[in-house]
Symmetry: C2
Amino acid sequence: MLTWVNHIALAVPDLEATAARYRDSFAATVSEPQALPEHGVTVAFVAIANTKIELLEPLGENSPISSFLAKNPDGGMHHICYEVPDLLAARDHLKAAGARVLGDGNPKIGAHGKPVLFLHPKDFFGTLIELEEVN
Amino acid sequence: MLTWVNHIALAVPDLEATAARYRDSFAATVSEPQALPEHGVTVAFVAIANTKIELLEPLGENSPISSFLAKNPDGGMHHICYEVPDLLAARDHLKAAGARVLGDGNPKIGAHGKPVLFLHPKDFFGTLIELEEVN
């Protein structure tokens, strides 16, 4: 059911400094930061041919990445997003297998405009997993 | 210079349990565990079309992932490996940009039989980065 790594998300305390570091160190192309206030983050992407590296900086009071950065002040690897063809079927399969879906268990519209769910990292050995419906 | 995400490595305390969880929860294909005593890890891969998810379990007394698992007993996202076409050129560019290469700064043969280097996570906002020469 996991068809593709849509993105790897890195939470960072300073998006501009991170973008500059990737540009200087790797001659990487990094997109302009985009503020997504409804998601509590500012995002930019490091250009890589086969997947996306998503840089996330907290935005506003209740950013979903604030607690991660409180525990990891330097930043760090935050989550992996996999594409699935049918999010509700994936959710029902996961629940039947005993995995916990975060929130109320219903898909939300994610930062890229598609339905997403997050899975409890305790059920996946410390990795926070996002599932995004792409079909 | 970063051409491709070769793999995303997840350090886990129990490779068999993790493989079973990915199989049960996602109907994923996970390769048979392979012991790499010279690298201090046992590895397995979750099959994904566009990159590799590498599951790592410590092997032996001096595993390079033991300290990570001591800090993160549940497991977690350990590193991202990017392919570069010329590892020595990448290293020299990185050093000129002020980034620290781990170890003695010389490429080693990595777990997949190719030359690799690791970069200091403090220089990349908490993300441990491996560079692998693929050309």
